[in-house]
Subunit: 414 residues, 2 copies
């Protein structure tokens, strides 16, 4: 089945927003083994929308639109689709009741134009919208399946997961299943060099690398009749990858490094604190992005100024004077200091030069010291994160990743 | 002039990346007054790419491609464009020299397939690539201008700004100029209600609102012969907006709230420190995103655990016991505590319930207290940021925005 995604909205063509719906739906269709051949973005213009939909209907087996289902006069998707695919638009009473209930619950008056949202193509499958007012829908237009989803990502994403995917899965034979192996501490080319024979010979499952800031993801993807069969194909390959790469693999099918850190700390009932200079709170922010992190993360200090390093963390004035704020000695005292300050089991510290200014020949932009205090012992690592086209945000991001991975490794050894 | 953007790359159709190039170029074309009517994404497939380009050439005056200019066999954009628009592909010696120099500088061997990147359509305008190896180019295909840019955003963005925009601006008559008025502390509908007459009657300049997390942007856009004339049209409208909205306007043409905060502190030679509980370092992280923030930001404390609030910030045990961590009393002691701890002129604190867990009837998810200590006086505000479809990240983001705006207002009064 070959699919085309059509996003409708002038705001996309003005560059006010990016077509993240297209990306999201594409990922989900890839998981179902459905090939996406085109994304098209068109504005709220009836003639151009009609032309795009006629072309899509001719060249694709599945056309999925996002946007243009709302109550205002420039929301045109349903009307034009019904014209192109020759369907009548009829009032869907159950959807109207839901829209009325939506406004009643919120004690807000329902304006007349909201009724428009309850009109749907005759004999379609209705996608109830539990995340907004406009329902989605799908129908078989004789050789071409047409599906419509609301545009706002907060509605489009759950509607994709809970309405579109089950609708399409019921039509498909077989499934596509992927395991995601997450790697931090080894670059993409080193990963590829180690795994090249495996990756080149892989057919089912396939193994594909994806490079992210400061980490690499390997996606192991199998096609089979059932999810169980697909999982039986990926599992040994994932095991082989783990064996080949060792402990740079920080997790399989985990959301992020910070999720892995919180889970690992929680498993061993350990607590963490962070002392951040160059990352300025980024490590703390990322850990506390994880809901429930309060069980393991006590807090920490953002010690941008030297005076604060002294006052809050007890870094010695002579250490700062002799070695400077960006030094292994300072990183060590920061990590130890934040453990003493908070009573955490593990203290992690970062001090460095994030740039773009502040670098010298001796201490260039990208030089970062990472301290880790654990069980009364403190270890310091020197990181060299600078280089061509590495920006401030990259250096901070990679430093934070390296610190999170160091915590994970320390926890594994406890 | 009506434009179409064609992004080439299977990774876009698999949902591995989003078409951010399309968004970026669209914004720049909007600034030039060029209408974008379509975005199309197509994979590295010769037949489909050819069909898409033929269609684009027919319906658009300007076709801009991104991607497919690299050295590998599946980089096909130039070859297919030359076929569709009937141009010969010829070796461009100057580009070959640049590519050779690129590898020589880095002491890396240049593989044979890199020569492919130096082949360009005969008689095109070459867009030299200072940010990678593949040059871009443009030519007039008789009624349709065709331009090609590399796909990686790090190359595509500067190539758009420094190569494509000047090329197109030289062809256009007149300019489009926008002022961006940034607002925090008033919702979109309240802004619209106050400015409706102005927005409805505006023709040149136009006034359009854009809603972002925790803030609103008004874009005032004028079309004129020169930038000076356009600025003369927008300036009085911006002044009227400032007058109508008062101090919820935090800046015009500023990068972000955190940039405004750093600049305001720097102007008055004031220092700031942050004490964060529910935002877990987000305020500090955002301020330190700004290069040069070390001149005004001393640091602060991330006090997730109550014990750390006591130990680091000197919040009294009885305050925590009597009123709880999420209380005006705790927020007040946190703000004062971080000032005392760091010696900063201004201390800002946040304590609240970011969710999704942890809420009660009395203290629901989204309840946040914001403390501001300044000149020995501490003020506390209660924020209610919860509600339907407000997620943890939203609550944290809006709380951080509100805190940054409060700092800005305090600085303005000093």
């Amino acid at each position: 089945m070959n699919a085309e995604l059509v996003a409708v909205g002038t705001e996309l063509l003005l560059g006010e927003i990016s077509n993240t719906d297209g990306q999201y739906i594409s990922q989900k269709l890839a998981n179902l083994g459905i090939n996406v051949f085109y994304h098209t973005v068109v504005g709220d213009n009836p003639a151009r929308l009609e032309q795009v939909l006629r072309e899509a209907g001719k060249r694709s087996d599945l056309v999925i639109t996002t946007g243009g289902l709302g109550p205002t006069y420039d929301d045109l998707t349903k009307e034009i689709i019904c014209r192109v695919f020759d369907r009548e638009l009829v009032l869907h009473e159950a959807s109207l009741d839901r829209i009325k209930a939506f406004f009643a619950e919120r004690d807000r008056p329902m304006t007349e134009n909201n009724i428009k949202q309850a009109y749907l193509p005759r004999d379609c499958t209705v996608f109830e919208n539990d995340w907004g007012t406009a329902p989605g829908c799908a129908f078989d237009a004789g050789g071409c399946i047409v599906a419509m989803l609301p545009g706002p990502p907060r509605e489009c994403r759950p509607m994709t997961d809970h309405r579109l995917v089950p609708y399409l899965a019921a039509m498909a034979d077989g499934v596509i299943y992927s395991d995601s192996v997450r790697i931090c501490g080894m670059g993409e080319s080193a990963v590829e060099a180690l795994l090249r024979p495996m990756m080149e010979n892989a057919v089912n499952p396939t193994v594909a690398p994806y490079c992210k800031l400061g980490e690499v993801e390997l996606r192991v993807t199998a096609r089979a009749k059932t999810e169980e069969e697909a999982k039986a194909l990926t599992a040994p390959v994932v095991a082989d990858i783990r064996k080949a790469l060792g402990d740079v693999v920080y997790g399989v099918n985990v959301d992020s490094l910070e999720h892995a850190v919180v889970a690992a700390l929680y498993d061993k009932r350990l607590t963490l604190a962070a002392a951040e200079s160059c990352t300025g709170g980024l490590v703390s922010k990322r850990i506390t992005d994880v809901s429930g992190s309060s069980a393991v993360f006590l807090g920490g200090a953002v010690t941008y100024a030297n005076s604060v390093k002294e006052r809050v963390l007890g870094v010695k004035a002579e250490t700062l004077a002799s070695f400077g704020a960006v030094s292994p000695e300072t990183a060590e005292e920061m990590a130890r200091g934040v453990c003493l300050l908070t009573g955490a089991d593990i203290g992690v510290s970062l001090t460095g030069i994030a740039g773009p200014g502040g670098g010298t020949a001796e201490k260039p932009v990208g030089l970062v010291y990472l301290g880790l205090c654990c069980g009364g012992k403190t270890e310091v690592r020197e990181l060299r994160l600078g280089g061509r086209s590495r920006e401030r945000a990259d250096i901070r991001g990679i430093a934070a990743n390296t610190a999170l991975k160091a915590v994970l490794d320390a926890v594994a050894k406890i």
